[in-house]
């Protein structure tokens, strides 16, 4: 699927902030992120656990639970801000326009309801009473589109395998033909063979419905194959957005570079290059650039000024001073004295630095 930069965005997120409040103050799980998703586009999110991917998509569905709160920003679905909708309007928007394929498909089905009733629930709530026969047919068709037999409708979740439950979730998510499907690690609980089949099913359904999709996955290989564009998140910030091919070939943000270089490669035998250090503790995050304590390029300036999203070329944005303020790096990162301690802490893992140079 080709991406046209000029097509109107289906979903536009502007300066979204979601904080989880606790006694010590806010944990900025999603901090001032902006991105947009076009019609028919598959947008992938990558980043370590806890970087805010799931919080972001839960915010799009307005399903952030206390102590979490959406602190600000706009979420425009075809131009209208869903954060201003009333509770009832939001309820009607869910599933009708934005559906979710949940992270834990294993436990996402109500154990005491038949598959049929759980799918019917979604249809009847939004479309009103449907004649029984029509409903049966509709559910049978939905199950067929995800390669399940219509008999599955009469089963209870515990009678299904993991892959089957995941397919049921996909069937359910497509029942009302929403404009946007959010898939939160739709295949993470499955083995590789089933993963591929489920993913193909999901893409097939999404393309048939002309829906857009947000895809979260720990499996970057899978994301690279499936997504049209990818956003890289780190510690609640969106640090880079680019077309998939571009991002994986020429990552610009040091974090993206490190993340992508940590992928094992078949061609080249290399030591599994991780990213040195740990993601920051968000109750007490580092100043300004959140990645600077782990970054091999970091200079004092990174600690003093927060990097903003900077356009590198059409459709490629990154939030790093290497691009927005290259003149600061003229002397070269190693010669800077102020951060040598930081560098020493990261010296053990050189995979990231090697890739960057």
């Amino acid at each position: 699927m080709t991406v046209f930069t000029d097509s109107a965005p289906l979903l536009q997120i502007e300066n979204l902030r979601v904080y989880y409040w606790n006694q010590a103050g806010p944990v900025k799980a999603v901090d001032d992120i902006s991105f947009s998703i076009r019609s028919n586009e598959r947008f992938g999110f990558i980043g370590e656990s806890g970087c805010g991917k799931t919080t972001t998509i839960m915010a799009i569905l307005r399903l952030i639970r206390r102590p979490g709160r959406i602190e600000g920003g706009r979420i425009l679905l075809k131009g209208s801000d869903i954060l201003t909708l009333s509770g009832e309007e939001m309820r009607q928007t869910r599933w009708n326009r934005i559906s979710l394929i949940p992270q834990g498909a294993m436990n996402s089905l109500n154990p005491v309801m038949r598959v049929r009733d759980q799918i019917a629930d979604a249809i009847v709530t939004h479309r009103g009473a449907v004649p029984n026969r029509e409903l049966r047919e509709r559910i049978g068709d939905l199950l067929e589109t995800v390669q399940l037999s219509a008999d599955v409708a009469d089963m209870f979740p515990h009678e299904l395998s993991g892959g089957m439950k995941q397919r049921v979730c996909i069937a359910m998510a497509t029942a009302l033909e929403p404009e946007l499907i959010i898939a939160d690690e739709p295949t993470s609980a499955l083995d590789v063979v089933v993963q591929k089949a489920v993913m193909e099913t999901l893409i097939g359904v999404q393309e048939r419905m002309d829906a857009s999709m947000i895809l979260i996955g720990h499996d970057m290989g899978m994301t690279a194959q499936v997504a049209d564009r990818v956003g890289v998140m780190y510690a609640g910030k969106l640090v880079e957005v680019a077309d998939t091919r571009e991002l994986f070939r020429q990552p610009q943000h040091p974090y993206s570079q490190a993340l992508i270089s940590s992928l094992p490669s078949i061609r080249e035998k290399k030591r599994g290059g991780g990213i040195p250090g740990l993601p920051p503790f968000l109750l007490n995050p580092p100043d300004n650039c959140l990645f600077h304590p782990r970054c091999s390029h970091a200079i004092a300036f990174c600690q003093e000024t927060a990097p903003l999203m900077h356009r590198i070329k059409a459709g490629h944005m990154a939030a790093c001073h290497l691009h927005s303020a290259p003149e600061k790096f003229d002397s070269g990162p190693e010669s800077e004295g102020g951060h040598s301690g930081v560098l020493a802490a990261t010296a053990t893992g050189s995979g990231a630095g090697r890739q960057a140079r």
């Binding site: 639970r65 109500n110 629930d121």
Partner: protein, 335 residues
């Protein structure tokens, strides 16, 4: 539901009955001494001379089959039990134990089944609402207030009710099940039923108010667990209405363990609410049991115990049989 499942449950049911009735048979016979000799001995102690005591003893022994070898006694006992023939009350001779139980049982079952069910429904709903996100603050406060009443023993509440509402204010009758001398007329006597309910209100209230708190606590605990489940998040993402998520997704799952507790509670109904019945002179099983214990009316004590065992076993059998319908995962747990 598979036939094997039903047969297995029925098997367990009869096994429980058999074990309980056997214990009921064995334990008294393990006690030293001869019941008839003891009876005669008691008479003689009170100054009576029992001239033909040997003859009397022989007659009694024959009558009660005590000369038979133990296995024969045991079989006769089981055969009698199967016909609900529990022997005679010592205190109210010649009334049989079955007659005494039959007279008391309807009142107890009526009062306690109704209060148990009401308590259950109120407690379950309140417990679930207490942790549900859209419950108004006021509702939470009311529920919390009733939970504070939970640790008060129900008999204490009963005493307060009798003294304030019945004696001081005179709003309610303080004893009995119907007005004195009131007998049901032929056919459906609505006035009689109203009178019956009126007399049962105070004992019922004391049982309900004191009982709700326990259910609230149990349900709240389960509900909190269920609220963290992924299927609840998905239900909300599906855009279902709040009430439907609450009833069909959250409560429906949290209630499962509570049903077992309800079955056991209903099983105990037969034993009556002794203290409440005593305070309100309510002629149910609890009052009869109390009297029987006071007068060492062993056959009645044994009989009520046996009925208790039967009713608990029946309650558990029923819950076992409907459980696969409540929780579909149960039926398939064994092949």
């Amino acid at each position: 539901m598979s036939l094997t499942y039903i047969l297995r449950r029925l098997g367990i049911f009869f096994l429980i009955l058999w074990v309980a009735s056997t214990l009921n048979f064995v334990i008294p016979r393990l006690a030293p001494g001869d019941p008839i000799a003891a009876l005669i001995g008691e008479m003689e102690e009170q100054g009576a001379t029992v001239e033909n005591s040997a003859e009397l003893i022989g007659m009694f022994r024959e009558r009660f089959g005590l000369d038979d070898p133990l296995p024969i006694q045991y079989l006769k006992y089981l055969a009698a039990l199967a016909r609900f023939d529990l022997g005679y009350s010592i205190r109210f001779f010649p009334a049989t134990v079955s007659q005494i139980v039959a007279a008391a049982l309807p009142y107890t079952i009526g009062l306690l089944t109704a209060t148990s069910l009401i308590t259950f429904v109120l407690g379950i709903l309140a417990g679930a609402l207490l942790v549900w996100h859209s419950t108004p603050q006021f509702g939470r406060a009311v529920i919390t207030f009733f939970m504070m009443l939970a640790p008060i023993p129900y008999y204490l509440l009963a005493i307060i009710f009798v003294s304030v509402l019945a004696f001081s204010l005179g709003w309610f009758p303080y004893s009995g099940v119907v007005s004195i001398g009131r007998l049901p007329k032929e056919g459906l006597d609505l006035g009689f039923i109203v009178d019956l309910i009126y007399h049962s209100l105070l004992p019922a209230f004391s049982i309900i108010i004191a009982g709700v708190g326990g259910w609230v606590l149990g349900m709240r605990g389960m509900m909190v667990t269920v609220l963290g489940e992924d299927y609840l998040t998905l239900a909300e993402a599906k855009g279902l209405k709040d009430r439907r998520i609450f009833l069909r997704y959250a409560m429906r799952n949290a209630i499962l363990p509570q049903f077992t507790a309800l079955a056991i509670t209903l099983g105990y109904v037969v034993s009556g609410a002794t203290i409440v019945e005593l305070i309100f002179s309510y002629p149910g099983m609890g009052l009869r049991l109390f009297e029987a214990i006071n007068s060492s009316d062993f056959p009645v004590i044994q009989g009520i115990t046996f009925f208790l065992v039967v009713s608990i076993a029946v309650a558990i059998l029923i819950i076992d049989l409907i459980y696969p319908w409540l929780d579909p995962r149960i039926t398939y747990s064994r092949r």
